[in-house]
Symmetry: C3
């Protein structure tokens, strides 16, 4: 399927820390619809905590594999706007990523099976709004770039090749197959579920793994919420790339344990 | 109108308690657009209080009648995910409902003029994501089912007939035409307006109905906000199926009275 | 470009104070899709503070210029619903505005380069839902009007000409070219940035303007966030129509200074 067929409209996803009470996201959508009127615009999240590149990186990693390869994912969490940080577009075999070069694509670009085909720096003013502002590149640079790419413009029209994209080291996962003794929380979701930086590839159920966090021990790896009583803590293989999660059935593990992203989890066995 | 005409794209509405700061809703949309690329996806609400089946049931009841009959309404408020609760699709002459069989469709299915045409259990793996997770049926079962139904797949392809759908008893309304002496709040909206479980069919304006709640009496049934001064309490026939509502003009009745869903209202007359 | 070409679907933007946890916005979307099935519906914001006409006016002003001229902007922030306030549609060369006649279009209609072509009062019941409620004109009057206009219905079919539209005086900007000595905050955004009622046309960088607010003086006009250290206050020409803004780099100026919309800013020079 290609975007030029009538049955497969172009898709652009938006992820920002702009919130929805201002006009920032609305301005980006107007720019996109002017350039690519048939685009299906999908709002992944505009509730990223302000300037939280890690949170945006995780959400993108959670969802990009469910989208067609012709999707353009535009992420604007950009504490360095107005500085010398680069604006980039990265085309892969699992979608094209547009945003600031600050590591926000770290997790998605390293995910299993993703191959980078082309990366460019967004410097060509012909594909930007005239009179680019110093503070709102989401509207002036990233939205037009995403819209042109979604309607089929070749990436190399937008600027020269970009090499050495910024990577965030602590978003790197342990090598698969190596048994781990410690993990940390990389994301706390809306329900207060804690998503860890390790996956089912780092554990063996036959080893009877146990998890200790904030002084509490979870004595086993469960299969689903229904395996424990309401109000109880559990650990299970979650729905995102097989990452381990810690939750409270019908409750909030983050509130119960008083923890947030970065908190350490000890893994023991037997 | 049928979804196959170019001028009437398929419509899928989404109602969840997932919030918008995570990637859960974004993953569902990707799955939908892969299966049904021309779908118009409408977000009814993702701010349902976690696991609040009643609130989701009410919102669906508020809106389904305004949508074309070919609309698929997908609701994922699912405290029983991973247990034996069924996943269902219910086709009616006022839209098709997809979600967990936990009573979330109680109000819509009992609404005036709605006829159930077909109900199925979503068990056929050909219409699910491969490798269904134990915790995220929204993405793995409900989103694909909604997308296949929206593009015209017959419900009976998705699984065997479902009988005895779960109904939530306290969401049942009093029999119309019977004068009522008590009511309760079934929903508190964003403005703090209180929506009651009785409609204009349970009251007669000529009886001069009065309403007492949290020790305060509202001495009459008004027509609109402009009938009282700013800051005053009023009761009126609201905009949802003729349900009675209690509000404060330019204020919040929920905050003024300190009440929430379930609170009792006494109705007296004369 | 006209909406009748397949490649330019009709666009309707929605701005309300309804929030997203109820069914109000969902009902409006159903009404729109029934009348104009191919509409691209854009949610500008549903988080306008309840009844805050100024905030809605500002967001519309921030974004309308980025949308194609065939866009219909529907705004429902309507404390006067049920009173005698008019419901109007205003066609301009920069989009059509639909909503209550309460001044919510004040800023957009006065913006540089905008010409009003036609204004009507929405009184024709043929273009309303049957049985208009007294409290929810968003669904019953404004959504159908927006949908009919988006699919090409001429405004004069919807009702007679409307003259003397309500204007909000304190949303008027100072005359350009006149040096100002005082300004005030017209909007506080999601990041806590303060947007002032003056633009770059009211200042001359060569005069070395300084800004005093809440007892703190900002000694210069910066170009971008990167011009100051993290945590420092700055003033700069923002991204909306060249308005001046006051911010804290990687922080919230609203929280730092304890100010909100309406607060005064003194401008001195030299």
């Amino acid at each position: 399927m290609t975007p030029s067929q009538p049955s497969t409209p172009p898709i652009i996803t938006l992820t920002t820390d702009f919130g929805r009470q201002d006009g920032y996201v609305g301005a980006m959508q107007g720019v996109i619809l002017n350039i690519c009127p048939t685009a299906t615009i999908v709002h992944l999240s505009h509730s990223i905590p302000p300037q939280d590149i890690n949170a945006a990186a995780f959400i993108l990693y959670q969802i990009f594999q469910y989208y067609p390869a012709h999707t353009v994912h535009c992420v604007v969490v950009d504490p360095g706007v107005g500085s010398k940080r680069r604006a980039v577009a990265v085309r892969t075999d699992h979608g094209t990523f547009v945003g600031p070069d600050n590591g926000v694509f770290s997790l998605a670009l390293r995910a299993e099976g993703v191959n980078v085909l082309e990366a460019v720096t967004l410097t060509n003013p012909d594909y930007q709004l005239s009179g680019v502002s110093a503070t709102f590149h989401g509207r002036d640079i990233f939205a037009p770039a995403a819209a042109f790419l979604a309607r089929g413009t070749e990436p190399d029209r937008l600027g020269p090749a970009a090499i050495n994209l910024v990577q965030i080291d602590h978003l790197r996962l342990p090598e698969p197959g190596q048994p781990v003794e410690a993990a940390h929380i990389i994301h706390v979701d809306h329900f207060g579920n804690l998503i860890l930086n390790i996956t089912e590839l780092h554990l063996d159920r036959k080893d009877n793994p146990r998890f200790t966090i904030a002084g509490q021990t979870i004595p086993r790896l469960s299969r689903t919420f229904a395996d424990v009583a309401a109000g109880e803590l559990l650990a299970y293989v979650g729905s995102s790339h097989g990452h381990l999660e810690i939750a409270v059935r019908n409750g909030s593990a983050a509130r119960r344990l008083g923890v947030k992203a970065g908190a350490r989890v000890t893994v023991s066995r037997g």
